[in-house]
Amino acid sequence: MTELLVGTKKGLFVLRGDPQVGEPFEIVTRAFPGDVVEFAMRDPRTGRYFAAHTSGFYGPRLMYTDDPTGEWTQAEGPSFPEGGDASLERIWMIRPGEADGLLYAGVAPAALFTSTDDGESWSLNEALWKEHQAGDWQPGAGGLALHSICPWPGDPLRLAVGVSAAGVWITDDGGQTWHTGFDGLVPEYVPEEAQEGTSALCVHNMHRAPTRPERLFMQFHGNVYRSDDEGSSWQEIKAGLPSGFGFPLVIDPSDADSAYVIPLVADIDRVTPDARVRVYETRDAGSTWTAHGDGLPSNEAYLTVLRQAFDSTGHGRDMQLYFGATSGDVFGSSDAGSSWFQVHERLAPVTSVRVA
């Protein structure tokens, strides 16, 4: 049995089903009806569920529970210190860290928050916030967001984060100091003469390979990249894809040469190319890509898959993959993408998908 947490524009849907059967999952519960649930996940260390949701009227907040069908508790934060200008706009990502009780939250306006008590309270990473305030950080279309958080397995001092649109930031001392990972990233959306040295780098998604942690994969605004030096520099790997544009990216945690992306046409037309839905897989670190569409819509399909709406569980050829679209459709695979089935249809526009 697999449990999915599907954040949507109209609440959190908890779905359960058996992917081996290949039939739609059942809706176990719908939480936060009417609110946008931008992200939801379950911390596998504690079993605690988190949901970041925003009321259109009363603002964003982080909730947690041990039972998603029951009551949720509001966390203390994340919120910006009083006396400044910033107020929380959105929580983009919650990610477990590499120490007991440690979690990270990425938010808009772009900032990193840390919890050391299993997510009950949160504090701002002041050093990265100072970089934000001192720098010329510009928002992407979705806002100025810290949305990708990549811990280093076994080392809580090392972390890389991705910001739209302010590039990659890396710490080796637990967040006391930060340096950039900009080399090789090409912002084709700014004039060529303005590209050199700009921080307007629109990272869409970033993941670290756990078995080779100096390697990261990135979906960028118009390109796909790989880094083999801890995120310091990046090599383009989009050759073989129908487009370099897209939002989500996942990896097989057992295979440092693997990545999956779901390309969209371009930034000016953010739908699946050729009116069909296909997931692209590499098993050679981006040298070649294989298209998977068996079981996915193959004609008159103009889907948009957002950056947090793709996830996996397991590894190898039995790895399960799930993604949701703004059409309200959710799809799954139990064979690492070779074939797909419809997990659910006609939900509200999907903002995030995570396997619980």
């Binding site: 259109g56 009227f57 009363y58 603002g59 907040r61 009083e82 400044g84 200008d85 929380l88």
Partner: protein, 86 residues
């Protein structure tokens, strides 16, 4: 004391009470006092910088106001969501 009138879900976070007699000389001061007495409502009307959230309206005696607007001892504050959304 000014009177603050809340509707659900805000009233549920303020002791399941719709009417609140609260001191304060500005909208912000009155609402901060509401937060002090009912912590579950922190962050719902005012953001962390004390600003009324963009899609919340605070009316004083029928006039739409902001956090810095003056409040008299017999004024009535209605806190309502905006007519917005999607």
């Amino acid at each position: 004391m000014a009177v603050v009138l809340l509707r659900a879900p805000l009233s549920q976070r303020a002791g399941n009470t719709s009417d609140h007699d609260l001191p304060g000389s500005t909208v912000g001061e009155v609402l901060r006092e509401l937060e002090r007495r009912h912590p579950p409502i922190v962050g719902w009307i005012l953001d962390e910088q004390g600003r009324v959230r963009p899609h919340v309206n605070v009316f004083v005696n029928g006039e739409r106001t902001s956090e810095g607007s003056a409040v008299g001892p017999s004024d009535v504050l209605h806190v309502l969501p905006s007519i917005s959304g999607g």
